[in-house]
Symmetry: C2
Subunit: 341 residues, 2 copies
């Protein structure tokens, strides 16, 4: 998908008017994008949870990725974070930096992807900025969600004795990224086309667990979304909460395609447990509330699996079937140091 | 100022802990940066004005600029926007994208610049994100201000018959940018060192007119900050409000150094009136309230000058001393089309 071709968007004004304003239509906070800011009237008794996260071509997505997928991912990765806080996503601002004027075709598809994602996640575009600069296409979203005052779920509140859960399945996106870069590996991993497409799709189109936000507020002792790899992000949860975490590797929920790949290449376990882009949620809950948490998540259509427990100390231990700790060469993605799992 | 040297910041965690967390210290909305989002409890009866604006190396600042100045500018350009809405700046989130790990020295100075700007503008860091990617250093701030509900000042509410004002002096930063790029021009423009330093300083360290936010809410019929050049931004005001604007060029307030440069090189008038980076505010006010507006701005220490009036129609006319319209080759900076004045 060429980002730039003969029929390029002519100006910032055209970009806003033709492609972005429709995404803000009918929403009072956006002021029709006629102003360059958003105006948010908070509901009484609510608090706002605000998160900003840039994604960039070549780092978080590839130039040739479908514009619909790039749009989806830009919004999904931010929405995922809000959901982990127990917040209901409501608004977003978007700063777009293009190295060259995008083609009308690319922008049409990008805007269509945003429109679909907006509807799916229940958020609206309310403001932003566009410019041109050298370097990769960069999309910085700021998302705003609401919680009833005093109910935000934190990552620093896990307690020894809590049970540890994850939503969905782990490692699909990490495997999907490898396959997206090297499609020929699918054969070595004994995956058919459907299985390969599933894993790549999990990388390209993460699905934030919006249905679980309310439930987390009521039953979780702590939560955070898993974006940089299960092991690394559990390390952050452990550090923030001042607790140890014990995870039973065999209890980590895997999709059928991931299980197949792992059966063919057991060494992929490292990719599964340390690969990024899961956008699932790690949740801790007191044992007394754990059963209700599981039941309510299930009723909301979200798979929630107990993978271990919160302990004293400060280590994250991943145990194999023999009760031995698994040691990884890398714990996951460090955006800053640029460590690649 | 080398951005990278032997003593680089080792990791995202170190960057946050050593340099950014101190900027968030003591502010409850920041959650100590232990979480990756901000939590804002809005005051009853208030609304939030939210604005996002990225600045990038090579586009909005230069690699060799002092880190303190880059930090100041990143915050100032966003604060300026809020002030033009009549909002009191309160919080900001910051997404930092580095092409390579910055040196500790660079980050120390950058953080010191932010700390100083925070204090000056009355805002606090409450969240953000850092990553590494190819391309220019990019700093995307999302700033959040508050207004009493229903009082935000818009850019689409100027009315024919209103008087048109600007704060401060116009064109200093546009001239300063030219001098920053080509210091040898100072001699041709017959500027001494002090005058040159003044103009360059106006480019490097814009001064948002925070003292005027309240006054705008009470007396302005519309306002917007001037960031892409007076002529271009008045065009946006005109279009948003569906009005014409008439400006008397000789009434546009100029600093002494700008007047000197203009006396030496009259053709610099175009740079003065279409150059970007002023971060002053264009304000319209009904004639009945104009006098009070001027008086209160003056009492708040902000120079406010009437430069023309709001009319019917939809043109922005800049009149010379003979009542003839001045035609510019460019109207100002279009970030997207990349038109350079």
């Amino acid at each position: 998908m060429a980002m730039t071709d003969a029929a390029n968007v002519a100006s910032e004004e055209a970009l806003i008017h033709d492609f972005l304003a429709p995404l803000a239509a009918g929403h009072s906070a956006a002021l029709g994008l006629a102003d360059d800011c958003a105006l948010i009237a908070p509901e009484p008794g609510s608090e706002l949870v605000i998160k900003t996260d840039p994604i960039a071509e070549g780092v978080h997505f590839f130039t040739e990725d479908a514009p619909e997928d790039i749009a989806w991912k830009a919004l999904a990765v931010n929405v995922s974070d809000l959901v982990a806080k127990g917040a209901t996503p409501r608004f977003y601002l978007m700063a777009l930096s293009f190295p060259a004027a995008p083609s009308k075709n690319w922008m049409t598809r990008f805007a269509a992807g945003l429109a679909k994602a907006q509807t799916f996640f229940g958020v609206h575009l309310v403001g932003g900025d566009t410019d041109r600069r050298p370097g990769p296409l960069s999309i910085t979203l700021t998302v705003i969600g609401i919680v009833p005052a005093g109910t935000m779920v934190h990552r620093y509140t896990a307690k020894p004795g809590d049970k540890l859960f994850v939503t969905g399945t782990i490692g699909d996106a990490g495997l999907g990224l490898v396959l997206h870069r090297q499609p020929t590996l699918a054969m070595q991993w004994l995956l058919d086309e459907t299985a390969e497409a599933y894993l790549v799709g999990r990388y390209l189109r993460p699905e934030p667990r919006c249905a679980i936000a309310d439930i987390l507020r009521q039953h979780a002792s702590s939560a955070m979304d898993i974006s940089d790899g299960l092991v690394r992000d559990l390390g952050k949860l452990s550090k923030a909460s001042g607790v140890g975490l014990r995870v039973y590797a065999s209890d980590v929920p895997l999709s059928t395609p991931a299980r197949k790949a792992l059966a063919a290449k057991p060494e992929l376990l490292s990719t599964v447990l340390t690969g990024g882009d899961d956008y699932e949620i790690a949740v801790s809950a007191a044992p007394s509330g754990a059963q209700l948490l599981e039941r309510r998540a299930g009723a909301a259509g979200v798979l929630l699996t107990c993978i271990g427990e919160v302990e004293g100390g400060h280590d994250v231990v991943i145990e194999d079937n023999n009760g031995q700790p698994i040691i990884f060469n890398t714990t996951g993605w460090d955006h800053f140091a640029g460590v690649n799992p």
